[in-house]
Every structure is written in structure tokens, then in C-alpha cells.
Assembly symmetry: C2
């Protein structure tokens, strides 16, 4: 690892922070904030998650999460099922309403991104995806060798 690479990477990070801010900002105006949206995302994509799982997945405070989940329970987006194996834990799942709600959110995010990319050609988009995949591979390796 060369020190000379640090600056350009940090510069990219600042740039990409802006991009993500742009994409998030628009979506999260109403209804849900970022942590809430992330919770919905995880619950939509994985089964048998507990609060504990979400805490380590999202790096979120357990008190804060508990309130988010209570709120989601109240507005019928999620259901809790006490684990038969462990009476303290509960498996979380989206209700049909919850799934629909996530899909709306997801669709809006797609639209927002499409909008940003609308001026690009197929080739450019493909290239974008390619570079992203590469970055991901490299950073995953970095993370792995760090743990």
C-alpha cells in the first residue's frame, strides 16, 4: 500500500458522500429515515432476523432500534415471533403491508438513481458497474485481511 494512494481515495470518498447524499436526500423526505429504510431493506431480503442481527448488521443502538421496531409494529409493517428456542429473542418479519411499503420505497430509489444516470449510455453504465464491482472486490479483500 502506497501512501500516495490515500489522498485520491479520500477525495473519492468525499465525492461519493455527495452522490449518496443526493440519492438518499430525495427518497427519505417522507415516511422513513435512513435507519428505518435500512431496517426495512434487511427484513425484506432476509428471513429469521432478530433485533440482535439488525444491530450488528446496521451498527445501530439497540434502544434506538427497539423504538423503530415498536413503531413498525404499531403501524403493522412488521410482526414479531418469539423464538421457540430462546424466549428472549424474537424473529422479525415484514407483514404484507410491510413488503408493499418497502417495494414502494425501493421503487422510488430506483427511479431516483435512474434519473441520475439518465444521461449515460448503456456502455457507460456497464463500465460504471464494472468499476464498482472491482472496487468492491478489492475492498472486501482489504476488510478480510483486517479482521
Amino acid at each position: 500500500m502506497k501512501t500516495s494512494h490515500i489522498q485520491p481515495i479520500r477525495s473519492f470518498n468525499r465525492f461519493y458522500t455527495g452522490i449518496l447524499g443526493l440519492l438518499d436526500r430525495y427518497i427519505l423526505t417522507n415516511h422513513y429515515n435512513l435507519p428505518e429504510a435500512r431496517v426495512l431493506y434487511e427484513l425484506y431480503h432476509r428471513d429469521d432476523l432478530t433485533a440482535r442481527d439488525l444491530i450488528s448488521l446496521l451498527q445501530i443502538d439497540k434502544g434506538y432500534l427497539s423504538r423503530i421496531l415498536r413503531h413498525f409494529g404499531k403501524i403493522k409493517l412488521i410482526r414479531k415471533k418469539r423464538s421457540p428456542a430462546d424466549g428472549r429473542a424474537a424473529y422479525l418479519e415484514l407483514t404484507a403491508t410491510g413488503r408493499k411499503e418497502f417495494e414502494l420505497l425501493d421503487k422510488a430509489s430506483n427511479e431516483q438513481l435512474k434519473n441520475l444516470l439518465s444521461g449515460l449510455s448503456d456502455k457507460e453504465c456497464e463500465s460504471l458497474v464494472h468499476h464498482m464491482t472491482e472496487i468492491r472486490t478489492i475492498l472486501l479483500k482489504a476488510q478480510k485481511s483486517n479482521s
Copy 2:
């Protein structure tokens, strides 16, 4: 732009949100939060910025910014110079203390990133930078054609 590219890009965005969170989280424990750090960054790197400039640069609420600046004034990180041309506006600049303070923060960020990348070879780092540059070019083009 093909719709099929949307999903992998959003997946990368989630991944990179995690990376940025990792890097930010550690740095910003004490002293400054993200908006504050960004203000310091801008003031360190550019002269003759006004509050207005920071608002459009950082997309931050002017009331919130005003308080941040007042705070920075109190702890002697910045100085305000009334613009001779416009009595409402003030040019902002870091004091010597402010510059030192930013440099500490900046150094810590560098260390944090170095740490993340420590397992990578020079080649891999170079490749990382390359892909980042490409992404940036493409996204800048996308943004431009959107405005």
C-alpha cells in the same frame, strides 16, 4: 442506460455506505461531527469562502451552519472578516489553531484509511484508485447532463 444496471449500482451504494460509515465513525468520536469536519475541510482548502458558499457546498441549513460557525469562532478555530464590498457577508478563514486542528483530524482520517487498506498491495491500491477515478468521471458526466 439499461434498467439492469440499477440493482448492482444500488448494491454498491449500500456497500459503500458501510465503508464510509466505518471510516467516519471512528474519526468523529470526539471533537467534531461530520458537518463540522466538512466545514473545516472546506475552509482549510479554499480561501474567501462565505457562509453562503458553505451552504451551497455542503447543502446544510443556514441556521445550523450559523451555529457551527459561532461555535468555531468561540473556540478560536475561525475568524470572520466582513466583506468590504458587501456588508452583509463575511469571509471565513481558519486561524492557525484552526489549521492545526484540521490537520490533526486529517491525519487521523488518513491513518484510519491506511489501516483499512493495510492488507492491500501497491498494485491493488493503484487499481482501486483507477476504478474510483473512472467512476467519478462517469458520474460527473451524468450529473452534468442532468443539470
